[in-house]
């Protein structure tokens, strides 16, 4: 259902590349002044979604509205986009890019731009090819924030930045939202999303598999974690329980990601005589892993050396 008051409204967006469904009929709405985190594994379709939203890729179906309006070039006066990979011109200096932005956007704020340059501490006299990846990200962010847009679309905005500047980016996003701007961003760093976003959508294989208010998602979601002194057994009736969203067995560990009704599930797992049993509140990472399913969760566990 389309929310006409949303700052961004994505409805039934579809983008296919041959047989690959990069974006598969997704919908979400983002309220004004909200910070919306888009999470997903590599290839989940986040970047393609952003490109379709901004007319950089042409979807097979669906529509995107900004403040109720379909995208038209003039709206970019109020929209800033920072792509995942640098789109800057290697042969131009940082100052040239800022001047290009100044001449392109009426809202460009010179004092704001200088403050951002000082914040990130890069040399505007250098050509882009002489800047590090992090400095290039900082320049792109400076260009985006200097025009004081109403909508930010930021694809991995802190990519390449050191932890101090990553925190600056989060603060800039939170500050912008506090001033009424709407921020849509993607990040592989779930901690950042958890810190900044008030709403999230989790994409997997082109689909939005979970979306909602971060606090509400966390409130209802728990994980029952059991450790056995043998390989974790299959427990009859567990996977089929309506409260269970997902069950993961990794070696001796069994985790059941549940929504409401945690006590009953804990009792069911307890009947299998685990060595230890805990009911934990889920953080966003747990929710993410539960949402994207076995395949990604197993890959993450393997990378951590678990199981």
């Amino acid at each position: 259902m389309m929310d006409t008051n949303a700052a961004i409204s994505v409805n039934n967006l579809r983008k296919y590349y041959g047989a690959t469904r990069a974006v598969d009929d997704i919908s979400f709405q983002i309220g004004k002044g909200s910070i919306f985190g888009l999470l997903g594994t590599n290839g989940a379709g986040k970047t393609t979604t952003f490109k379709c939203m901004l007319g950089l890729a042409f979807p097979q179906g669906g529509e995107v509205r900004f403040d109720g309006e379909l995208l038209r070039p003039e709206l970019f006066e109020r929209i800033s986009y920072v792509p995942e990979r640098s789109a800057l011109y290697d042969w131009m200096t940082g100052r040239d890019h800022l001047e290009l932005t100044r001449r392109s956007f009426r809202r460009y704020d010179t004092a704001r731009a200088q403050a951002l340059v000082d914040l990130f501490g890069f040399d505007v006299r250098k050509k882009v090819k002489q800047l590090s990846k992090g400095q290039q990200s900082a320049l792109a962010l400076t260009m985006a924030f200097a025009i004081r847009p109403d909508v930010f679309v930021l694809d991995e905005p802190s990519s390449g930045l050191d932890p101090v500047h990553q925190r600056h980016v989060l603060d800039l996003m939170i500050d912008a939202a506090a001033r009424g701007a709407t921020v849509l961003f993607s990040s592989h760093q779930i901690g950042q999303v958890e810190r900044a976003a008030d709403h999230v959508a989790i994409m997997h294989k082109g689909k939005v598999v979970l979306a909602g208010d971060v606090e509400e998602l966390r409130a209802g979601e728990k994980v029952v974690e059991a450790t056995f002194d043998r390989d974790a057994p299959e427990i009859s009736g567990l996977a089929g329980d309506p409260h269970v969203r997902h069950v993961m067995r990794q070696g001796r560990i069994l985790r059941a990601y549940i929504r409401n009704g945690g006590d009953g599930i804990a009792n069911l797992i307890g009947s299998a005589k685990p060595a230890s049993l805990r009911v934990l509140n889920q953080n966003l990472e747990d929710i993410f892993l539960a949402a994207v399913g076995d395949e990604s969760a197993a890959a993450l566990s393997a990378a951590r050396g678990e199981g």
């Binding site: 901004l54 070039p73 970019f76 789109a87």
Partner: protein, 259 residues
């Protein structure tokens, strides 16, 4: 929105001018040191003033400017190589962006032609001075139409390259590299003694070959692109058509490119 194009074409013009000055200075230095005796043109009275048609010099400058056109012809294609996210998220349409880019490129090409024309004219004059011959610049045949034609030639050259490359990503260099041998080959094939079927095929293919319309032969001894000359007005019109068609095709192609 013109700033990046301004910076890009300014750099190209600076390089073009420096190279032009060097290429002009070299023969002048040689001519100054060699005390040339160029003799009189065939059929001219001894000691007569040598008449140099400026429109022919403009034709040479036009060919030189087509080098600049070759370089600038890939501007839209270069945006496809990772810059669309920046180029196409500004508050104006892709059509306007493409039009602005091509208009500024074309202005730079005309400027490069004028720079080349001035350098060639100075060089032509000085070489005659060094060789102790009097020279007088005259307009030449069909001066106005030829001037228009020679101004349109590098623009058509640019438009053809832009049309062929605007929809590509990372392949503009192939177009730029092949455009000269292909067009020269096509022009040569048109003149070759093939059978009528092949001749007709090459005549048709050459309708989009700007080189065909740059042919120039004056009553003196100057020839530029020595293919069977078409009527100058026809050539000028065809070059104008190529400019417009190339512009439209390049815009359509570029609008369809996804980031």
């Amino acid at each position: 929105m013109y700033y990046k194009e301004y910076l890009r074409t300014r750099s190209a013009l600076i390089v073009f001018t420096i190279v032009g000055l060097i290429l002009t200075a070299i023969p002048l230095v040689i001519a100054a040191g060699a005390h040339l005796d160029m003799g009189d043109p065939p059929g001219a009275k001894p000691g007569a003033v040598h008449e140099l048609p400026w429109v022919a010099l403009l034709g040479v400058a036009s060919l030189v400017a087509s080098v600049m056109a070759t370089v600038l012809g890939s501007s839209l294609s270069q945006e496809n190589d990772g810059h669309l996210e920046l180029a196409c998220t500004k508050p104006y349409s892709r059509t306007k962006y493409a039009a602005t880019t091509m208009a500024i490129d074309m202005a730079a090409i005309v400027a490069s032609m004028l720079i080349a024309f001035v350098l060639i004219e100075i060089a032509g004059y000085l070489i005659h001075v060094f060789s102790h011959r009097d020279v007088r610049f005259i307009a030449g045949p069909d001066a106005t139409v030829n001037a228009i034609r020679f101004t349109l030639f590098p623009l058509a050259w640019y438009a053809v390259i832009a049309a062929l490359s605007a929809g590509t990503r990372g392949k503009a260099g192939v177009v730029q590299g092949l455009i000269w041998p292909v067009t020269l080959g096509l022009a040569g094939a048109r003149e070759a003694p093939f059978g009528s079927v092949w001749h007709n095929i090459f005549v048709v293919l050459n309708t989009v070959n700007p080189l065909i319309y740059a042919s120039y032969q004056d009553p003196g001894d100057i020839t530029i692109v020595g293919v069977s000359p078409l009527h100058v007005v026809t050539s000028a019109v065809m070059l104008a058509v190529l400019v417009v068609a190339g512009w439209v095709v390049a815009t359509i192609q570029w609008r369809r490119v996804e980031a």
